[in-house]
């Protein structure tokens, strides 16, 4: 039941994100969508991820987005004439994609569960602890790389946003 509510919210808001003409509105819908996804995570016993989702996405990224929208104040719609037949093609293609993916999913069977991290175990130990352990043992290197990646991103942002050297 809960699943359906969340999925309805998620899909609806996602559609809205695409459909709304005003970027600000779509931003807000996106945040809503993120909340719905966070709900999913909680349902799947990943409270930590849910928190991350809220904090990073809804918190950091979307705020940034909204800020930029304000900054450039493009919220009042510039007349971006969007030609119709491109829209049609886009819708068509995404529909086709969707149908195909659905076809694959419905025909395919995922692997049988072999992992040890059963919900019980995760509940007992706590997902945060597992994630932490893995992040700092097995996925140490990606973690480091991610940090450098962020640094680079900062440099990039700084270089781009700067008016002139």
């Amino acid at each position: 039941m809960l699943f359906y509510i969340f999925s309805f919210i998620a899909i609806f808001s996602a559609l809205m994100v695409v459909a709304m003409r005003n970027p600000l509105t779509s931003a807000l819908y996106l945040i809503l969508c993120f909340f719905a996804l966070a709900g999913f995570y909680v349902m799947l016993d990943m409270q930590f991820l849910a928190a991350m989702q809220i904090l990073v996405y809804a918190g950091a990224i979307m705020v940034l987005v909204v800020l930029v929208i304000m900054l450039l104040n493009i919220s009042n719609i510039k007349n971006m004439k969007s030609d119709l037949h491109q829209k049609i093609i886009g819708v068509l293609i995404s529909l086709i994609l969707f149908i195909e993916i659905i076809f694959y999913i419905s025909n395919g069977v995922p692997k049988k569960s072999t992992g040890i991290f059963t919900e019980a175990l995760i509940r007992k130990v706590g997902n945060t602890q597992f994630i932490g352990e893995f992040l700092f043992t097995k996925y140490m290197l990606p973690f480091e790389i991610a940090s450098i990646l962020l640094l680079v991103a900062i440099i990039g942002a700084y270089l781009f946003a700067k008016k002139k050297y």
Binding site: I101, Y139, I145, A146, I148, L149, V152, G156
Partner: protein, 506 residues
């Protein structure tokens, strides 16, 4: 599966560090270079340039030192073996050329040097991580890392709308593609339950050896894995700029600063092909599904489209971009040919491709200056007599692209094509040969311009007084290696063979 060969008396972390020394060196130097940005007077001078050169050279040395090692690091999230050795060398060479080319270019359009070089170095490290990554997380992460560096560098020229636009297009397109890659890896994960490449490999081995029907899933798994692999392929094909995922290539190559264009054309492409080769050899070529006919289509379309589009284009950078699409198609022929022979052919071709491309772009930089006209082929008319050496080497690189003998291009083409014939893809080879026949036209068109100007030479001249020695060095190295690989390919072939051996040895 963490049965890395034991390295004498080192603890785990040291072992792991050992396996990523080359990347680490590069990153350290990148930080050093970046460090200079904070001090005005250091930044002014050429330090960052030389420092990054030193870093690359060091890294190359380390790679050579470790060349006989074969080890896992960080719980198998990275591998280091002969395969990586070969590709590290290749990638580092492309980085070296990029740096060498950049000095002159940066001076012209006064851009802040340190950040630039550090970004190049970061990009290099990202590529190396990508090549040696053994884990879908690593793959995704390093692809993104690489791409972000590329985005920034592409849009690096301030106040040039072209550059910004290129960055924009590259960004949107790239992120869109990597979203597909991500979504694809979801399905791979769902079907195999592994993120480690070799884990996936073993899993697929099991199901494919029992006729695709195993205790878990059976054909259903095949369906899953196939969609996953297709979507994953999209993400990589974008980097390899294969038709129809190529469309960003001409614009981005055109808009980006030329050294970066060369960087993308060589380094990023090589890295993408390398990881594709690794994943392909590990995963795709199980009879989960026959991927060769998809690749067949991609290869044929890429080379045909690239060549045909290049025929009439008058902008040298776009022309080279189109030709790089075509070249990607040729390289793919080797992968399709498959087997030991085909893979080593592919690696050989990749190596030769670096040298010719870098050389050609170096020449482009020489004759480029701020105005757009400088990219028009017309501007090359008559330089054959003004700058005989440069023109001669340019023609040599172009002939190598065209696959005329005595150049490395011919040997590479011959290698991959014969591998394709070996595994029975005759039509593919015929198409490829016809392609390279009429592709010769636009390469020769440039030579015509250089040596046989229809009227008096249009007076193309080097915008600044003298030719930068970095460019000269690049051209000379590329020239020598292109010639060497064309005449005495055996050493390089052995090199490639070794790396393919260790690719098998996973």
């Amino acid at each position: 599966m963490h049965n890395a060969p034991s390295i004498y008396g080192l603890n785990f972390l040291e072992k792991s560090m050992l396996s990523i020394i080359p990347e680490a060196v590069i990153i350290i130097f990148a930080f050093l270079v970046l460090f200079f940005a904070f001090f005005e007077k250091l930044a002014k001078r050429k330090n960052s340039y030389y420092l990054s050169l030193i870093g690359i050279v060091f890294s190359i040395l380390y790679v050579l030192m470790l060349s006989d090692r074969n080890m896992y690091g960080f719980y198998g999230s990275v591998i280091f073996n002969g395969f990586d050795v070969f590709l590290f060398i290749a990638i580092l060479f492309s980085g070296l050329f990029t740096v060498l080319m950049s000095k002159d270019y940066i001076e012209n359009s006064e851009m802040p040097a340190p950040e630039y070089y550090s970004l190049v170095l970061f990009g290099l490290s990202a590529m190396m991580f990508l090549v040696s990554s053994n884990n879908l997380i690593m793959v995704f992460l390093s692809i993104e890392f690489m791409s972000i560096c590329a985005y920034i560098l592409t849009g690096y020229i301030k106040g040039s709308t072209r550059s910004t636009e290129a960055a924009l297009k590259y960004f949107v397109f790239g992120t869109y593609a990597s979203a597909f890659l991500l979504f694809g890896s979801v399905f791979i994960y769902a079907s195999t339950g592994h993120l480690n490449l070799d884990g996936i490999h073993y899993f697929l081995e099991n199901i494919s050896y029992v006729g695709g029907v195993d205790r878990s899933g059976g054909n259903g798994i095949k369906v899953y894995i196939s969609i996953g692999l297709i979507l994953f392929l999209v993400g990589l094909a974008f980097k390899m700029s294969l038709f129809p995922f190529h469309s960003w290539t001409p614009d981005v190559y055109d808009g980006a600063p030329t050294p970066i264009t060369s960087f993308m054309a060589t380094g990023i492409k090589i890295a993408a092909f390398a990881i594709f080769l690794r994943i392909y050899s590990l995963i795709y070529n199980f009879n989960v599904m026959n991927f060769n006919d998809i690749l067949w289509l991609l290869a044929v379309f890429s080379m045909t489209f690239g060549n045909i589009a290049a025929l009439l284009s008058s902008n040298i950078k776009r022309l080279l971009a189109y030709s790089s699409i075509a070249q990607a198609g040729y390289i793919l022929v080797g992968i399709i040919g498959g087997g030991f022979y085909g893979y080593s052919g592919t690696l050989f071709y990749l190596l030769s491709y670096i040298f010719m491309t870098a050389g050609a772009f170096a020449v482009v930089i020489i004759f480029e200056n701020s105005d757009l006209i400088s990219l028009d082929i017309k501007r090359y008319s008559g330089i054959g007599y003004k700058y005989p050496f440069i023109a001669a080497s340019m023609s040599f690189f172009l002939l190598s692209f065209a696959g005329i003998p005595v150049t490395s291009g011919f040997m590479g083409k011959f290698y991959v094509f014969s591998s394709a014939v070996k595994s029975g893809y005759n039509w593919l080879v015929v198409i490829a040969l016809l392609n390279s026949a009429f592709a010769a036209f636009y390469y020769i068109k440039i030579i015509v311009k250089m040596y046989m100007p229809d009227k008096e030479p249009a007076g193309a001249s080097i915008s600044r007084g003298k030719i930068d020695e970095g460019l000269m060095i690049t051209i000379i190295i590329c020239l020598i290696l292109t010639l060497l690989m064309g005449i005495f390919p055996q050493i390089f072939i052995n090199f490639a063979n070794n790396s393919v051996f260790s690719l098998w040895r996973i």
